[in-house]
């Protein structure tokens, strides 16, 4: 394609009245931009609604929930509460009440237990998946031998497999090692999941080899090159990866359902347990749901750019 063209080149017919059409075009463009912005504003409200409604509803008392949502959460335990026959979706509570929160935080330890279950499953996975992957990504990126490319390709295939495929081997190996119905059955496969390796390797490959060669000339060994140059350079992408791994596992459902059975269901994280809260406790459920999602949302407000960078790096399979 011929890109370079003399700057002075303008087709003759474009000269005449070019200014007029340009202005008309600018006005049209402006109108189109405003129309697009209005459209996106509408979409944004729809996207925000579920989040905002969950948060505001968590400040309603149980009786207000019952009277607003009528027959949806029918098995209302509080006798004598008015149950309306109609639904009344309210953004703002009649009376802001913190009773749900005080019940959750002070009087119902079971929710705090489930919350703790989530934390104790997710934190080790995030920390160690990122660490293992950081080390491995250096190995993959430093020398790209045939063997390593093949292994990396296998990692990609593994990464692309849905749970229906990976949970069966996970289950079998947990059973074999006696880890079934313990937290390790979820944590260990999580730690070695190839997702973080994939993104970090793509980042490491872009580190200029001149930097590594220079360090080598200065007498640095492989471990030093890794700890002094490559790992520090990867700081921000490591943060991105950690966030992505965190939101993935904070939302986990499949693994606990399959790997923590019977009595071990008491180890289920909040992401599974939330759906099992009795309908009569809908008000409480809103508060628990809010607590559970506020943490990643706050993280998001602080780290949106990291998240976006991480997602961008995950794009494309070729590296």
């Amino acid at each position: 394609m011929n890109v370079s063209r003399p700057a002075a080149y303008t087709p003759r017919h474009a000269e005449k009245g070019a200014r007029g059409t340009m202005r008309a075009r600018a006005v049209g463009l402006r109108a189109a931009q405003i129309a697009a912005a209005v459209f996106l504003l509408g979409i944004s409200l729809v996207f925000l609604a579920p989040i905002v409604l969950t948060i505001t509803n968590s400040f309603m008392s149980q009786s207000e929930i019952a009277s607003n949502y009528g027959k949806i959460f029918t098995s209302v335990t509080t006798a004598g509460t008015y149950v309306s026959s109609k639904v009344n979706l309210k953004l703002i509570p009649d009376l802001v009440s913190f009773t749900q929160y005080s019940t959750v935080l002070l009087r119902s330890p079971e929710y705090l237990f489930k919350f703790w279950n989530s934390v104790i499953l997710v934190v080790p996975i995030v920390v160690f998946q990122t660490l293992v992957a950081l080390v491995a990504s250096y190995g993959f990126a430093r020398f790209e031998t045939k063997f390593r490319s093949a292994v990396f390709f296998a990692y990609i295939i593994l990464m692309l497999m849905p749970y229906q495929v990976t949970l069966v081997p996970n289950f079998l190996v947990s059973d074999f090692l006696g880890l079934l119905d313990t937290r390790w059955a979820i944590i260990l496969p999580g730690v070695f999941s190839p997702f973080a390796v994939f993104i970090l390797t793509k980042f490491m490959r872009r580190i200029p080899s001149a930097m590594i060669e220079a360090a080598k000339l200065d007498g640095a060994g492989e471990w030093q090159i890794f700890t002094k140059i490559c790992a520090p350079m990867s700081k921000s992408i490591v943060a991105s990866v950690a966030i992505l791994v965190y939101i993935d596992y904070w939302n986990m459902v499949e693994q606990p359902l399959v790997l923590l059975r019977g009595d071990a269901q008491s180890l289920h994280p909040l992401s599974v347990f939330l759906s099992q809260i009795n309908a009569g406790d809908a008000g409480l459920a809103f508060a628990v749901a809010t607590i559970y999602m506020v943490i990643p949302l706050l993280l998001f407000l602080y780290c949106e750019d990291y998240l976006v960078e991480g997602v961008s790096y995950s794009g494309g399979l070729k590296g």
Binding site: L53, V87, Y138, L167, L172, L317
Partner: protein, 303 residues
């Protein structure tokens, strides 16, 4: 590498030896990850293959493809496979096209652009479990949507227990996944060389023409990746269904993972293994086909 002058043979040998040593050292970096993947994924997958081909774990008699035939005749499996396929068929194209549109809009100079981006990405952070309550309020038989419909003179629909049930899940899936795909498209759009676009404009190509002739070909590998990702995520939609409707949902919502979970409960290893292998194979075929298409399309730009 360092210098391009011809080294003496002795020197070359020394350098090669040094490089081989380095390469060996860097193998150690791979070790933890390789061991973990081998133990938790690869080795047990060998067992999965074994189980899929034997009669039962006690006798261990070779059964050929009988297990697969049995699985394919299984009513529950067929239902689950059909439902998942229908869901993916509806949800995946939407999850590719809508984010692409949003990304293109957000690449323009718009007021409140970064606000829109933040809002559209935010569902990515929200655990599905936190949002199912609102979904219930909306789509419950006595819920908000039905109230609106009846107020407008329509007939109410039991959203979770009718053939419309997949719609509610598609909406939830899109709400959750649009942001991720949009980021991928935005970063791909930002990487299109500006001079090519300008040249096209100078040549008098309209917005439509530049989109289909220039942007789309440049985006083809991103479209491929987003499609693969959306297919995988559509396989994960069990999560949404389970949190909304539990282990035994309405027939149209019975997904492959429901089938897997129930099979896990009965510890039928043959069935589980066959299902896992079959689904892995389907995934690989889908990815392979998409790659093939991408290569075909990608050839155009490189020329």
């Amino acid at each position: 590498m360092v210098s391009k002058s011809n080294p003496t043979p002795a020197r070359r040998r020394r350098r090669n030896r040094a490089e081989v040593k380095e390469r060996r050292l860097t193998r150690l970096f791979l070790l933890p990850s390789l061991l973990g993947v081998a133990v938790f994924f690869v080795a047990p997958f060998g067992v999965v293959f074994y189980y899929s081909l034997i009669d039962n774990p006690i006798s261990g008699e070779f059964a050929g493809l009988d297990n697969f035939a049995l699985l394919l005749r299984n009513v529950a499996f067929r239902q689950a496979a059909r439902n998942t396929a229908v869901f993916s068929g509806i949800a995946v194209p939407l999850a590719v096209v809508i984010p692409l549109l949003f990304a293109i809009l957000l690449m323009q100079k718009l007021p409140m652009r970064s606000f829109f981006r933040t809002v559209l990405i935010s569902p990515l952070m929200v655990p599905i479990a936190s949002i199912v309550l609102i979904w219930e309020v909306l789509f419950h038989n006595n819920g908000v949507v039905n109230e609106w419909i009846t107020a407008l003179g329509g007939t109410a629909v039991d959203w979770f227990k009718s053939d419309y049930s997949q719609i509610t899940i598609v909406l939830l899936y899109l709400w959750k996944n649009i942001g991720y795909n949009m980021i991928l498209f935005m970063s791909a759009l930002a990487e299109i060389p500006q001079d090519v676009l300008e040249a096209a404009q100078l040549d008098g190509a309209g917005a439509m023409r530049t989109f289909f002739r220039i942007r789309l070909p440049y985006l083809s590998s991103t479209v491929l990746f987003v499609t693969i990702l959306s297919v995988i995520n559509s396989f994960k939609v069990f999560r949404e269904v389970y949190l909304l409707t539990g282990d035994y949902p309405y027939n149209a919502l019975y997904m492959l993972q429901h089938f897997m979970n129930n099979t896990f409960r009965s510890l039928d290893y043959q069935k589980l293994s066959c299902a896992a292998i079959l689904m892995g194979a389907v995934m690989i075929v889908i990815i392979g086909v998409l790659f093939f298409i991408d290569r075909r399309l990608g050839r155009d730009i490189e020329e």
